[in-house]
Symmetry: C2
Subunit: 865 residues, 2 copies
Amino acid sequence: MVYFFGERGKESRKLLGGKGANLGEMTRIGLPVPPGFTISTRVCMDFIKTKRYPRYLEKQVESNLKKLERKMKRKFGDEKRPLLISVRSGAPVSMPGMMDTVLNLGLNDKTVKGIEKESGDPRFAWDSYRRFIQMFGDVVLEVDHAKFEKILNKRKRGRKDTDLKVEELKIIVSEYKNLVRRETGKEFPSDPKKQLKMSIDAVFSSWDNKRARTYRKLNNIPEDLGTAVNIQAMVFGNLGKDSATGVGFTRDPSTGENTPYGEYLINAQGEDVVAGIRTPKPIFNLKKDLPKAYRKLMKVYKLLDKHYRDMQDLEFTIEKGKLYVLQTRAGKRTAQAAVKIAVDLVKERMISKREAIMRIDPAQLDHLLHKQLDPKEKEKARAIAKGLPASPGASVGIVCFTADRAEELASKGKDVVLVREETSPEDIGGMSVSKGILTARGGMTSHAAVVARGMGICCVAGCEDIIIDEKKKTLTAGEIKIREGEWITLDGGTGEVIEGKIAVVDPEMKGEFRTLMKWVDEFRRLGVRTNADTPEDSKRAKDFGAEGIGLARTEHMFFEGGRIDSVREMILAEDEKGRRNALKKLLPMQMNDFLGIFKEMNGLPVTIRLLDPPLHEFLPKEDKEIRKLARKMKVSYQKLKKKINFLSEFNPMLGFRGCRLGVVYPEISEMQVEAIIKAAIKINRSGGRAFPEIEIPVLGSLEEAKFMREVIERIAKDLIRKSRVNVKYKIGTMIELPRACVVADELAKVLDFFSFGTNDLTQTTYGFSRDDSGKFIPKYIEKGVLKKDPFQVLDREGVGSLMETCVKLGKKTNPKIEIGICGEHGGEPSSVEFCHKLGIDYVSCSPFRVPIARLAAAQAKIKNG
Amino acid sequence: MVYFFGERGKESRKLLGGKGANLGEMTRIGLPVPPGFTISTRVCMDFIKTKRYPRYLEKQVESNLKKLERKMKRKFGDEKRPLLISVRSGAPVSMPGMMDTVLNLGLNDKTVKGIEKESGDPRFAWDSYRRFIQMFGDVVLEVDHAKFEKILNKRKRGRKDTDLKVEELKIIVSEYKNLVRRETGKEFPSDPKKQLKMSIDAVFSSWDNKRARTYRKLNNIPEDLGTAVNIQAMVFGNLGKDSATGVGFTRDPSTGENTPYGEYLINAQGEDVVAGIRTPKPIFNLKKDLPKAYRKLMKVYKLLDKHYRDMQDLEFTIEKGKLYVLQTRAGKRTAQAAVKIAVDLVKERMISKREAIMRIDPAQLDHLLHKQLDPKEKEKARAIAKGLPASPGASVGIVCFTADRAEELASKGKDVVLVREETSPEDIGGMSVSKGILTARGGMTSHAAVVARGMGICCVAGCEDIIIDEKKKTLTAGEIKIREGEWITLDGGTGEVIEGKIAVVDPEMKGEFRTLMKWVDEFRRLGVRTNADTPEDSKRAKDFGAEGIGLARTEHMFFEGGRIDSVREMILAEDEKGRRNALKKLLPMQMNDFLGIFKEMNGLPVTIRLLDPPLHEFLPKEDKEIRKLARKMKVSYQKLKKKINFLSEFNPMLGFRGCRLGVVYPEISEMQVEAIIKAAIKINRSGGRAFPEIEIPVLGSLEEAKFMREVIERIAKDLIRKSRVNVKYKIGTMIELPRACVVADELAKVLDFFSFGTNDLTQTTYGFSRDDSGKFIPKYIEKGVLKKDPFQVLDREGVGSLMETCVKLGKKTNPKIEIGICGEHGGEPSSVEFCHKLGIDYVSCSPFRVPIARLAAAQAKIKNG
């Protein structure tokens, strides 16, 4: 259960943990790794279960330690040439929350003298001893770290660590030992074997501490993996000018360029690089400082990069001119670098296309598709508040507090950030012209968030740190007050709100990115469409590779420009005749909407959803607005107010909306179908191709489906017959109710397609309102009662189970039925994978997520076949 | 395909329709039925399919007509002794919407003269002719009925029908014929055979008209039943003083007493009785008027009652002293009569208990359990408005417009009717002391309706005819204005609102009712519990036969008396400590609530649901109230308002409620569990028995179930251990989310019981908000898109399918799991049947519905085994 470095390699990650496996691997391929051994993860699990060590362990550790002593020609606890070791944890998957590292283990009042003599550097010896007690005291004995720092700072009196004299270090060591005695009631352990045993204990126990358990739960890491313990001979980068320590990357982790990257400090120990007391130098300088070690290091870079077939992040130490490698792992990288490295590796014939595709985290691609804050400027700025990173990108603009004002300022060429308590469909106009949107309420799937993502506008939502005073036109965050017209910057990637202006950089669509996306399309089975309501969005999505429109929401069109007047006239009409009159005015406008989209999509399917939201969403809520409308409509304020009250709902999400509108007022659907089919006829007549898929929203029963199909076909067939132009179209529904899922066999008999509206389906299945669940979902996640927000990552067990039922039943009665998904999940990688497994035909997502969905679809296919 | 009366009897209902089968049956058992024959339902279906008659039909009609002529010694179309016939439709199930009856068929300008001579009564002859043209013109030729009436009224000049002279009748006949020519473009058919053929056509075609189709759709009547046509020799009750026509009931349809009942008119035709121009005499008078016919009729009564083993409703005609029976069928009866007759028939050894149980419509029982308006007084009153009959019974009281005012007036001993735009949980106090509740908004399952039904208070909901002005304290319905303090009467059985006071009669709990309910319990398998929140309700329900409490809502207890203050203090607390302080005050009060209920139910299971509604429901909404509360709580109005705004929700139904409260604020659940267990300990210690079933609301995931079970068990076990008193308890959940249904196997691993909350489950499955669906559900039903309101009758296909999944999955992992239903459906007969088939353990409903549920459960068992 204990393996000396080199006995096993990277294939043994599960047994030896990531760190141990790589140390073994590097030893095996002949890299200069200080010798050591790994206690395997199985021991950890035995220890957790039985609270004691297996009998064989002591023996095996003993024999490996002996081997290490022989290799190093030193002895553990020896007063002349003591062996010093490091003890490090290393689980099969990277996992914060566990005990990390103890360095310089083996030091005590006697061995420190041996080091003193041997190195000829008493300061080095006592500083190492001081560091060891502090580290061991902190991580193994659990004495508050701050208490050590307090003693140290008192002695430093404002000087640097390195200014401490040997005598001062000795005093600190003695004060540290006193502290440990006070805090633990026991002497600091001086027996190196005891030190080692206690460290191993601490590593194993930390696997089971609360932080680690919570982390595993949240990240779906199995409880029974366990952690390994790596015990390694110490080497020292702080033994003079010919010693150094540093970190390296085999390629540039920021750009992905195939050039060596890294930094180092001369005469320093590993922790100094991280502590940031001295500024490390770029790796290139090492060529001058220690040319021999540099040449050796460059060889190591090459070897590791090639051997692991990926960019590596390594730690190294140079002890008196001799290079040692202490760790290697796949390096973290920017999205841009990830793509470039993956594509380069294929070109270098190191990996296959398939591997390249699997190397990219789809979520990371997001960064490639949006503007970003200039990292340098951002470093200097401080966020005044933090909300939810609801829609990525960055935006800089002057603050305003109403959609109208946003439109006004934007029309004058100003860059505007719209700040609202929350947004509503009435704000669409103002939102669409804003550079960014900031709301104080609402979650990741609130109106603001969804609309902003759809429009590709940066949005920070649910920022509860800010207080908005719409009347006074101010925004307050703590001490800071920002007035209308003042500058503000939003970072949609982090949710940060920054006072003032920060430079923004445009994303570069690199050649490697295009290459990768081409490969992706060779692998995926799932189609990828987009959710788009305008010709502009349609074009953008097509550029990103969308193969059709999976959801065009017609209600967005109802808000634009002067249309809202006709819409309101329709809603407030006393009878069908009045409604038909108002609808007649809307007809040519809707037709134009569809013309533009059909033209853009030229023959690709365009799913058009009939009017969905409850009618009251189109009416004003504020008294002032109601009075204004009353004057315009020439009705009394009282009458209008009464009508608005009558239409208002307790639970609009479950209210008079979707196809319920179409059943009660078929004339609305008739107008929309007329607009769709007339536009299609016009396109086809002029030699183009239009392929509308007419979608019935919020459908729950066969009877509704039949009723609506009859309305749609009556209009469509009549128009097509009269026009003598052939128009292919489909009639289907959005599946957003649990009932629709369980009666899908019935529905499929009369419908040509299903499209899962998983936002609403999640709401009804879970009984979670998107707009309100912000009050408890974060707490749920904190308490581990929810792993992920089901509005972000599809809930496979609940919602997914209903989707499975729906697909199974639907295909039973209509094997040719086309099935897609158009909820927010359509662009979320894990949900895309689920859709792939479900065997549906396509996913649809906002234009900016199309490349992500394409990549996720390819990965799903590669993973699941 | 054509059967002469007597060839087949009541066993041939499907073939001959109800009417034809009974005419055949009566002929067979020797009753004096005018001869005739029935064209079977199969011919109808052939006709509908092929739009033409089968070849054999003409021959068979011809030969039966010949037989009829021989029997009657008359000839169809004969100028001397013409045969006159009636043509009537008759489907296997009673079905309005089809063509009904043509009388006197066979008359034309020639045969009328034959009748004139033969009867010696020209007026009779021409009046018959006039009636025939009108009836035929209306139902066969589809000439607007009003147009005939117009001609008739013009001639009558204010006189009665019977005042018309022969000459005038002749003019009318000619004008009628002109009308028919004008409207149809054809002469009125004078050939009797043509008349007959056209009538048969009309009957068959009417099976397929829109009204009939819609009726069948709504009532689940198969499309392929078809209707029969009955052709029968005419007999005349209007041939002088020794002729009469009437209807009879073999028992009293109002009380169920075994005494003959009925009424008749001397010298009249059947339609005159219905038309109500003359007042018919009670059947008993016939003894004097026509003693011989009366004796004969009484024999017929006895024979029919015995033969059909049920109270019969018959039509008879006496032609010149000779009695004829024209129709018989099971008679419609009041609830009281239904019960008495069924029980009497068992005692008379005519039917079995099983049959008696199946004879009662459970919905009818409702009437036996509530106060009713005195029928005589009600007859005279006129409703000023009509709403939904939301909770049965009748109530009389003075109007008031706020819950507070209701409590104030009630405390002074006044009978109060609470009138609200809609009610909210804040109104509970006022509602509970009111005699009746009237709301202008909300449906059959609105808050007012549900609470009123639970409390057994009469309620008319969603009465959109009325306009409420809360400020001016008036209620307006059309021209009528009612002020606070004025009297109003509600009929919860019809939804009528009546101005002023009407006498109310108490329901009599007759001995037969008790007998029947005892029999019912011998048959049913399903348990029946009740939904009750107070000791009073618990007692009432137990008296009605409830075997436990299936739902006690703890939030109702939160509103009572001074508790609301502590509840609000808890909600507005800044931290857990503040919440715990406020909860401490609530603890003894909640404990008392449970003590009372446990005592009443003495050992029967009591399902107690932990706090369910979103917290904002406990906070005031009106500005004035908020200011008042702010003063009381000693916080600023702004702060309070902000908190209330923060807590408010877009879709409260899908919001921060149910176990979400318990997960985020476990201290609330802890207090409730403490109150439950402490109360149970106290009861058990004093020798009683308490059996709480602790119910977690709005649960959707295994993680929530585990979390809540842990909280509940921690408190419960600790208290029980310390008390050294044994308390049996269960932990379970209300199933009200689709997700809970599809992960029921997981949930059942950690829970002891499920209880379907089908109100909410219907909301989430269908995506229908109970409070808002009133806007479209009536339209849905009108258009045939919904058959029944799914909040009233369980939707078996959708909601039921999820319930099936839930039961199946739940029993898979926990075969012993107890499963019930506590939604409104628990007291609705068809839903109870579904629950029986589902194999669950019990239904739970409001106290007043317990007998209905018991009966429905017995019927379900008898029907389905």
